[in-house]
Symmetry: C2
Subunit: 564 residues, 2 copies
């Protein structure tokens, strides 16, 4: 849906990163930044590349095409002791630093809090004084849908571990929504061993996901869907079904029938009641018309239906289902409609992801600058070799290779923690050095990670000590990544949950096979997850305190984790 209203649209632009070992920049560090910026705008990767939009609404890679061209120009001429400053997608200055400093420093979408809302942002954005960086869009480390599949997979694996003794065999998930992100649910669920029943009101979405093998079957009635699920479960197999219907009808129907799924969640676009959620009893066409005629009526009807759905989620939770909010703000909407106990089921981070964050485990990822898929396959094998005892991880690597096509430069994501990130990255650097890999690799992560984000409605919801809104942590994280010698570092505002609701930082480092890179990698990719362990230990999580002790972190105010 590339629209013409954006003055930044340039339909003549088709960007694709260079491949191979010839470089036009003065070093692999700056070549890497350039290729990754370009890769973010590869039509295979970005949602609306000709408007510079990478993903997540209007998450951009550069402010406009003039800025994009200038960034490329500067990256081609940047010296090894210079640093480029990028302010909301615009290259504003080049300064002398030193060889162990980052080559690029990025700040995107940051606003003084009292003005940190969409209205003020949009005003600045329209005047082209700003850009929305989302998380990995403006920090040049987006790798397509593999990221969301992996994040969802990890959540389902955590559910299996927490509720079902590590095995999802014979268990099933009820959820809603097969959209851009939600479409990852059925694939991630079956990868994790769950069957999945996904209610989706738009048949074209179901068909699209069937065609790309993210969903196994389509059903038009609940009975039909339940038969498929039950059969698979009986055989101990995992299957996914897209059920054409309205989640606000189907969820209560299960309550009425006394049928309890093992896991219940939702990924309709409840965060946007005007455009993202179909009210009960409405057809898609009626909703489309009503949006033009009476916005308030649509919002009202949508929120009422969400309240019905959330009530059913609460009922299913009482009946024994592990119920969780998957970051679409549906609890808030239901609360506003009078479901006073809407927040009785937890968000997915406090429920499932936080224990991972306590050990610095999060969305670690890397990209082969060569463009050669073989480079990634070799790193896959290296990961298995270095982490031999993690079947979920091996399963992920196998399934990802088999089921998820590369988009743009070949890349891999896998959730690993403090104890593994630097180790893996050093091994990759060694593989570059020996020539086992055909070119350097870029190593980074999502901003949704252990030590890099403050986001009280998502990543830092319900922190043990109530420090959800304290954003000193991601800022310190960015300063430390800079101090260690990351290749580029970014500080963003508003990613994921929108303006006003989050602050977060990004880090990317290049493994070019040199000994200097190894030193930097050893510091940066150790310190980065370590700040996550530190942040959670400081908040009082035992798991994090234990991890800090085991890994020998030096946390002066934590008894026994002082390292000295």
């Amino acid at each position: 849906m590339t629209t013409n209203i954006d003055p930044r649209l340039d339909t003549s632009r088709v960007i694709r990163a260079d491949r191979g070992t010839e470089i036009t920049a003065k070093s692999w560090l700056t070549e890497a930044a350039k290729r990754m910026l370009m890769n973010n705008l590869d039509p295979e990767v970005a949602e609306h590349p000709q408007s510079l939009v990478v993903y997540g609404g209007i998450g951009r890679a550069a402010r406009n095409w003039e800025c994009y061209d200038k960034i490329i120009e500067v990256l081609n001429r940047l010296e090894n002791d210079e640093t480029l400053m990028v302010q909301s997608g615009k290259p504003v200055g080049v300064f002398k630093t030193h060889e162990n400093a980052p080559r690029v420093l990025i700040a995107n979408s940051n606003l003084v809090p009292n003005w940190a809302n969409w209205e003020h942002f949009n005003e600045l954005d329209k005047k082209c004084l700003m850009m929305y960086g989302q998380m990995t869009a403006g920090s040049w480390i987006y790798i397509g849908s593999q990221g969301i599949v992996q994040g969802t997979y990890e959540t389902f694996v955590a559910m299996a571990n927490q509720h079902f003794g590590g095995s999802a065999k014979g268990k099933w998930v009820l959820t809603g929504g097969l959209g851009g992100m939600g479409g990852a649910q059925p694939l991630a669920a079956t990868m994790a061993g769950f069957s999945a029943l996904v209610v989706e009101c738009d048949e074209t979405r179901i068909d699209f996901r069937i065609n790309t093998r993210y969903v196994d079957k389509k059903a038009k009635t609940l009975d039909e869907a339940l038969i498929i699920i039950n059969e698979a479960n009986a055989k101990g197999e995992a299957i996914s079904v897209g059920l054409l219907g309205n989640a606000a009808d189907v969820f209560p129907e299960l309550v009425k029938r006394g049928i309890t799924p093992d896991v219940v969640t939702d990924q309709t676009s409840a965060h946007d009641p005007l455009n993202g959620y179909l009210p009960q009893g409405w057809t898609m066409e009626h909703a489309a018309q009503m949006r033009l005629k009476d916005e308030a009526a649509v919002v009202k009807a949508a929120k009422q239906s969400m309240a019905v759905q959330v009530q059913a989620m609460l009922d299913l939770q009482k009946m024994g289902a592990a119920t969780t909010d998957y970051g679409n703000n549906i609890r808030q909407m239901a609360l506003e409609e009078g479901v006073t106990n809407a927040f009785d089921f937890p968000g997915f981070v406090p429920a499932y992801v936080r224990p991972l964050f306590c050990e610095g485990i999060g969305p670690f990822r890397w990209v082969a600058l060569s463009g050669d898929p073989e480079d990634i396959y070799k790193t896959d094998a290296k990961v298995k070799e270095l982490i031999p005892d993690n079947p979920h991880l091996h399963n992920w690597l196998d399934m990802a290779r088999e089921r998820i096509a590369f988009q743009g430069l070949p890349a891999r994501i896998c959730w690993v923690g403090l104890k593994d990130r630097a180790r893996l990255a050093l091994a990759f650097n060694e593989m570059v050095k020996t020539g086992e890999l055909s070119a350097p690799v870029v190593i980074g992560r999502d901003h949704l990670d252990s030590g890099s984000v403050a986001s009280p409605n998502r990543e830092t919801e319900s922190m043990l000590d109530g420090s959800d809104a304290v954003s000193d942590w991601p800022l310190l994280n960015a300063l430390l990544s800079t101090s260690g010698g990351a290749t580029w570092v970014s500080i963003h505002h508003g990613g994921g949950v929108g303006m006003g609701f989050s602050q977060h930082s990004g880090v990317v480092i290049v493994a070019d096979g040199t000994d200097d890179a190894a030193k930097r990698i050893g510091r940066v990719l150790w310190n980065d997850p370590a700040t996550g362990v530190m942040r959670h230990a400081d908040a009082g999580y035992d798991l994090a305190v234990d991890c800090a002790k085991k890994q020998g972190l030096d946390l002066p105010m934590i008894d026994g984790a002082n390292g000295k």
Copy 2:
């Protein structure tokens, strides 16, 4: 006014930084951080040192005494390739970095914007999960009242330059308030060559300022005051008078009499209508009683009087006086009381300080770690030698030496810009190297500076392009100072104007006389003011664009200032 309500109060604590050349830390870099933290809590320097409060309301140097002790302990053991992380005054981690990275990284009072208000902050502060860092309190580079005298002096000098051809001879300032900060006005005014009539309703404040020689004369009637001013002006001399009275009475009286001061401003505590401004017709005692009985009535009466005063300021402006808001928010209060054109007179930053910021000129300061005043006097002489052609600066240095007592470690502030900061600092480093100075010096600045703050009601009010609220700039500034190898770097929220209204960064670097320090100084103290020139050039200020060109900055999107 040390109160007992603060659980952080420990009356057994009396902190004073070590002097001399013996150090207990492992290097001068960490010794410097330690001495500067201690110096911020010196009873000569801090307002309520035993509660760790340095200045500016509750601006603290460390979260509590336990954290303070631990910071000192860590600074004593920190290695030259390690970095201490301080999160809102708490030492949370020590990480391996490298010799050219900062030794300390600080983030104070940062909150995710939607929660960035005093209510939420106070909740966290009470639970001891946070601390208010103000600007230089939590970043360990406060130097007592010299800073505010100098800032006010620079503003008056800028007024003289802009309105009176560079000479304030025979000109006079009308203002209000002789409190903690406002008390600097008469001294700064006479230093800059203006006479000053300061209306103050509390006689004890006038007497205090007379005793410390900040004010020359006291008057009890307007007639008396005007005679003193007129006589001095006739002789071409500058004199200051504290007039006992209410500004809301005196300002309109001048309008009525048709008397036009050359400059009009105000520093009553208008930002706090309950406690900071005496309503017309009230005695101090009556106000004190009313504050206990009926807060709303006090606020109402105070704001009504402020409206009267602002109306008079607008009238005096029309009559030809250069009228400006000095950062006490009195315009906002009057606006809320119906003075719809209250913002017709400008804030002091857009009116007078911004041209300085365009050239990277701001509150550069340094401290003699030896504790020896002679070290400062020698640097004073060095500044004069290296900047021979700036009479205002020489005047400031002479007057400061004569009239302003050192507080804590001897220190000096002077406003210099991009073209001078690194030069001066390198000369100081050389003086340490040759032994001309008896010990290293610490070099830093206020956060109220050219490239280090986003604060739409003060430092970034009315930016040419409307980018007042964009806080990418101070964050980039902090990342760049970190990249260059500053000794400590900080990112704060809420300094000056309070929670929600500002984001800013600090930088401090140690001149220990080594060649390595010289390299770091050359980068950091060039880049820091350069980001200010960059930020203002980006906003479209010609002065900044010219400065960037003249100084050879590399600003890729500014025509002709690209450096290549």
